[in-house]
Point group: C2
Chain length 343, copies 2
DNA sequence: TTGAAAGCGCTAACAT
DNA sequence: ATGTTAGCGCTTTCAA
């Protein structure tokens, strides 16, 4: 049978509250001698404190719930690992599920999560339109529980916590501007799904840069992808058909797809086609022609989202919700070139 | 304030056990009318059942603990997702942490996990030598708790559960044999860390095939890698220096590194060098020269490990521990070629 | 410095 | 078909 606090108490000839106190880190009213003895007996009996009971009694838990999307992308798995690392270091545990874009099961899964008396919640799935009804209801429930929430993007949560944001519009702007400044005028782009907020933001940045350079936005140069490599492969021949001389890929992974397809068609990067990515996953820098891209500090963002959440949880006073905005940084490597004026 | 079962009971004018029963799926003694009313009121009041309390009272939980290693590798993140998918579908939750190879924090992290009254545990970290003392102690504790454990490999657990294994030795044997049968005699290999059991198994398979073909094992043809792409890049020039005409990479990721390096040195695959991988990650099949590899059914393995664990949890009777062994399948694509007899 | 006792929100006999 | 009651293992006043 499992050994409980009661067994320790009996064995030590003290009360259970004494044992409980001995384990808590609060300034000890327990005499050092008693405490040492209790700890020793507990070790000998292989006592495992029961977090569930502690949680129920104290109404405080060390569980942090999280939802995230498909991990088969270094960008996302890096985020997961950065978050997890902070959380486990601080003595919390991550209760985590991967939710697909269509939010299938989502309602059910999240309800199960928040039924677990969480200390906080991390919403690491991207914002999509139209807002899923399930997800709206869930957000309302979380709100009502006054659960601290850390979110990647602004989902409208009002409870204490943090929104960690990245300026994707500026990322799109900078990437496109660089290509424009290099003399390109027919700049294609490979987007993510259009119902992602982060996709629309990048697209707005792209349009903004074009406008600024007096170039009309041309829908034919926009290939709708899905952030997976395959999209990039498919996009290449299409965009070449549209006589693009440069392409802004909304993430690095699709840029790799462009590379692959390019090799197959004997299209040289950057001689025949300039390519810009976005994310800066580690792989980008090891290609034969290193990818120029926009750096997204995903590890840093993961660390901060976890740290801020834990800070919110542990600060007793009611803190106001925070927003932290990260700025893009252009990383120019070998995959783009200046276009010669065709005089 | 949070609404509890008591509030619902008061509101409905029934006892709390009636409410509890109304929520449980057991054949209902509760009249349909009462039940409907309770459910309706609960919905209206936005009642969230408290899993923690339920767990404490029933001594049954829906939490499954898991430890796994670095997710920034499609092979591992696929495993995670396959497991998670089954678990969330069956109404369980995954409490998961990534543990580094050196097991730093491991002891602490796992103790926190098992203090959470788990229904079961998934040990998805690879077996390493020498067995870490922490990890041995932890295994003893888990054993003593009679917690069902599903493990990737045989860690010596005796509690009900399952060991999901893959015959890596045969994988190494088949891959090497294929290269030998193609006329190669100087076959290099890029291994993983030598303290991984799965590394040693592949190496034994490699040696076995050589022996069978009467070729002496040559340590100089063995490059010790770490399963990351970079190892593959570094291995290429070394193995070429050893006049290898073929290389067996212990995983696909390092084979990609070989590809990269080869491109840089203008080494053609398979004309100048035959390459075999292991794992069959999705990426393998989209390279310009598709990678010949050994298929490891990681999704299937993930699904089965989760399903078997849940089966063990839900089967009341004491079931014996099971072992499921998956067999390798050679996937011959374009990256290997027959060596002409140099007559 | 320690012990007694109430109670966290729920389940599960056992009564009715 | 429904209610009563005694816990689950722990925390936390309050009293000694």
């Amino acid at each position: 049978m499992k050994v409980t606090i009661k067994d320790i108490a009996r064995e030590c000839g003290v009360s259970i509250s004494t044992v409980s106190l001995a384990f808590s880190d609060k300034e000890s009213r327990i005499s050092p001698k008693t405490k040492a003895h209790i700890l020793e007996v507990a070790r000998r009996m292989n006592y495992q404190p029961n977090r569930v009971a502690a949680n129920l009694a104290s109404k405080q838990s060390k569980w942090i719930g999280m939802i995230i999307n498909d991990l088969r992308n270094t960008h996302i798995s890096s985020l997961f690992m950065a978050i997890d690392h902070v959380i486990q270091t601080k003595g919390y545990s991550l209760i985590c599920h991967v939710l697909s874009d269509d939010f299938a099961n989502g309602h059910e899964v999240i309800r199960n999560l928040i039924a677990s008396n969480l200390a906080g919640f991390i919403w690491a799935k991207p914002y999509t339109y139209p807002e899923n009804e399930d997800s709206i209801e869930i957000q309302k429930i979380i709100e009502q529980m006054e659960l601290p929430v850390a979110a990647m993007d602004d989902f409208g949560f009002k409870t204490p916590g943090v929104n960690v944001m990245f300026d994707y519009q500026k990322a799109g702007y900078l990437a496109t501007k660089h290509l424009l400044d290099s003399g390109h005028t027919r700049i294609g782009c490979v987007t993510g799904p259009m119902n992602y907020k982060v996709t629309q933001e990048r697209l707005r940045g792209y349009q903004e840069a074009l406008r600024e350079h007096g170039i009309e936005y041309n829908e034919n140069l926009v290939y709708t992808g899905n952030y997976a490599m395959k999209s990039g492969r498919e996009a290449l021949s299409y965009l070449l058909g549209q006589r693009a001389t440069a392409v802004f890929s909304f993430n690095d992974e699709m840029a790799f797809g462009l590379y692959q397809s390019a090799r197959q068609y004997r299209i040289k990067i950057p001689e025949d086609l300039s390519v810009m990515g976005c994310d800066n996953v580690p792989f980008s820098n090891v290609l034969e022609v290193p990818l120029s891209t926009v750096h997204v500090p995903i590890d840093e963002m993961g660390r901060i989202i976890a740290q801020e959440l834990i800070k919110t949880i542990e600060e007793k006073g009611n803190v106001k919700r925070k927003t932290i905005l990260y700025q893009p940084k252009l990383l120019l490597r070998g995959s783009t070139r200046k276009l010669q004026a065709e005089a």
